[in-house]
Symmetry: D2
Subunit: 286 residues, 4 copies
């Protein structure tokens, strides 16, 4: 089966290598030739797409809904052109496909799959995110995580994995959540449950606070409670959950860590992409 990888960053190149290693007929396009030495390079977009069963676009797919996101390519790829060359027997897989791009795909009768909607990918990406957060905390703190008090705000995907890893290293783990079912889970897993209402009372004892909630939770009022030596690691996507300016004023060390999987473990991140694509292939019976 032919698979073509069409633009993207180093994670996409790594993905192409992994697919090739598994025996697929992999071609790449949308990179400067020097970037992809070990891979089969297509002459042009038409040849790249021709006969491919699966076309893998970038993550995220596009910034402007017109061009594919090709940071390692000195030329351009127009999305319209891609869909024009594709047939309805081919599948377009990419990350964060906007409504506008989706509309174009539908107009061309192209089946698209958004990787960011695949829960197994977001679940598995929590692992390198949590490890990256731990690496940051280890680097920044003057004490060990072992025996430290660590609070996690939010018990979603990242919160769950992070809590497990911190417990595994020997930290005293506190997890803030809003509803009683989550607090029940937190207790079941052996962490200390913290109801949102009690968070302010306890946060002053913490050595490190990890935020995973993408809304303003570490406001000035809460930051004032924090120990001056405490570290804050914000893992929430924009706009983040920390009043960064106030934190700076108060002298609280705060690190906003985004895109950790690609940064701290690019090979693992590419492997997660690959497995998600294999699941898609299996589900579609391609």
């Amino acid at each position: 089966m032919k698979i073509v990888v069409l633009g993207g960053d180093r994670r996409s190149i790594k993905l192409a290598e992994l697919l090739k290693y598994d025996g697929y007929n992999v071609q790449v396009f949308g990179f400067d030739r020097s970037e992809v030495n070990s891979l089969k390079f297509s002459e042009n977009l038409y040849y790249a797409i021709e006969n491919a069963k699966i076309i893998i676009g970038p993550l995220p797919c596009s910034e402007d809904n017109i061009l594919l996101n090709t940071p390692l390519y000195s030329e351009n790829i127009k999305i319209d052109e891609v869909f024009e060359y594709m047939t309805d027997e081919q599948i377009f897989i990419a990350g964060k496909i906007s409504d506008e791009v989706l509309k174009k795909a539908k107009a061309n009768n192209i089946l698209t799959i958004d990787l960011f909607n695949r829960e197994e990918m977001t679940v598995l990406n929590s692992i390198p995110t949590a490890e990256g957060a731990i690496e940051i905390a280890m680097k920044e703190m003057d004490i060990t995580l072992h025996d430290s008090k660590a609070m996690i705000l939010g018990f979603g995907r990242i919160g769950k994995i992070l809590a497990k890893m911190l417990q595994g290293i020997g930290a005293k783990v506190y997890v803030e959540a809003r509803n009683y079912a989550d607090l029940g889970w937190i207790h079941s897993y052996g962490y200390n449950p913290v109801h949102l209402d009690k968070m302010k009372d306890l946060i002053g004892e913490m050595d490190v606070v990890f935020n995973t909630i993408p809304s303003m939770i570490l406001t000035e009022e809460v930051l004032l409670e924090l120990n001056k030596d405490a570290l804050v690691v914000d893992l929430a996507s924009k706009p983040g959950g920390v009043d960064f300016e106030k934190a700076k004023d108060l002298g609280i060390k705060t690190i906003w860590a985004l895109g950790l999987p690609g940064k701290t473990a690019p090979t693992t991140a590419a492997g997660i992409l690959k497995n998600t694509i294999y699941n898609i292939i299996e589900e579609l019976g391609v």
Copy 2:
């Protein structure tokens, strides 16, 4: 605040004791006097309900929608009578309140809360259920759980806690699930994910299989794959997930374990009830 416990089994009596210990004005009714020596016994149903803020009925509430479930009482309590004596400032809390009983409550303008709908209670009940399942496995197996291969069918509440505990004892844990997101979680937590399609191939290596899925999954076809020394523990509510007759024919030891919390850890089970009731009190601002 006055709370009245109205019928139920020993778990309800234990609950009354715990509430009394915490300082509530607790009265009981719907038990023979000899069963509840240390508790304040109401003269009659009217006095029991009078001035109580909360009326706690049995779990489950009723078998026939007419009488409360009072296994430790030689007389009867009519549900109609309970609702008649109650006012709209009182709350009726019980387990598994049927649609018919609900209708009666609404007709009397009574606020009811079903404990079986409280997720924190079902989450926390998974703990004594999982421990009970482990106790059974330890008792029945000729080998240790440590270093044994254990497969859990289903990754719901009980599956999650059971997997964690088995891993904590040192078992090699396999978890069967259907969707890729759950399989991602299973991998994240360090268990071996088993897609339903592959379950039959792997189940023959297992020393023990725990079923948590309430539909026929361990059919004759699957049971034939099992090691003859393997143990099956079925934790699924009726109708269970095992073809028990075939298992017997094949000489596979199978245990259908229901109602484990009340049996293996009645005090813990009553404590979970108590905390759930406190959460309800807090939410309602009683």
Copy 3:
């Protein structure tokens, strides 16, 4: 290679089966024929020993230093006779070989190996012992081990494994030890270290106490501090570490659990024997 199993209990029979399964030429003697249906039965002691590379005696070897310990045999085997038939190219392996038996062996120029001196065996036997202790606690307690407070007296082999398993189930684990290095280890592993001096102050909070120290530690003075609902499980070999009479007077439930590996997990126990014998074979270059 021929191996003969000479008397012993069901664990010895199970061991013979495992060795046979691995391809050894196994013969048994010192059991009534009905006990060992699936195994090759020797006609008499001489034939049993003839040409065997390894002779495996019982665990423990003998009660009176004259006869082998053969609880499943209606006749007798004299130790003198065994050593007489053996040559100096054969090895005699058994458990707890007394000085007197050892003297006899030396007089006959027989190489003996005492399984109870093999540290890997005593280490691995801690696993079924710890699991057996947990099974007992689960059976006897009205609460779950999860979230209970459990104190272990002693941080030797059994204490270490038991602490790990209890932590894995979700108990709050306290471990008593005497020296600061052990207390350092206890802290490192994430348990609560309890110096012997502080034991009496904390023991009143415990739900269950496991003793592993073979000397009187739970004296009347300490037992008086215990919660009346607490359970005591004594894992120490004779004379045990509990004043059992005082415990009974005080109404404290106490269980003295000895020989757990053979009772709770005979197959695992036999497997540990087998692996220890393989290590001996490898070390001796047999």
Copy 4:
């Protein structure tokens, strides 16, 4: 009680701060005044020692057996002078006290205690060492530790803690040891035991290898088996356990990490010192 801290690195200053925080009368000497702003500075060596119950020297104590080790002091402190000013009611505590220095102390009738001989300190120092090693691995590897294969050479203090933490993060942990008792422990804790003889066969599968054995174990012969992407972290004190030159020739990334506690978690390291000193105080009944 007066305690004086006499020279040393930043860890010693941190120690002085912690002792002061706990209420001791702490004085420092052997640092330039600018280094120790918040602490009480002695005018001269005589005043520093006078009336102090405990004199805490550097870790290590001395490089040349003549002068104390005072990297943060522009002048010198002669060991002879220290012992001359001390009386036999004072205690000298330092790290790695050489035989020659010991002889001097004895000649002056001074009681000395070597912190490096305190097992609780070496045990607890394994925690920041293990965390430091994990931080290095997270930083250097392109994959997550979760789900990676990690081999630890040696099952001493550092090996034990490192194995537990790596397992807690979700790595597949292999531990090499020489004797069967250690291999039994490794199995008991749920790691994969690797006998020294089999190490070479398995090491090629590893993503990361941590060495804790202070003798040449990763020779050219073994390094040749390693995966080219694998990382080697050597935690062994001089001369280390890796043929660094060969590793470089083979293109294997190797990091020799020494003195991790002071570097990665100075506050934790000082806290360990403090607790060890408190244990000494308690034991001596000072």
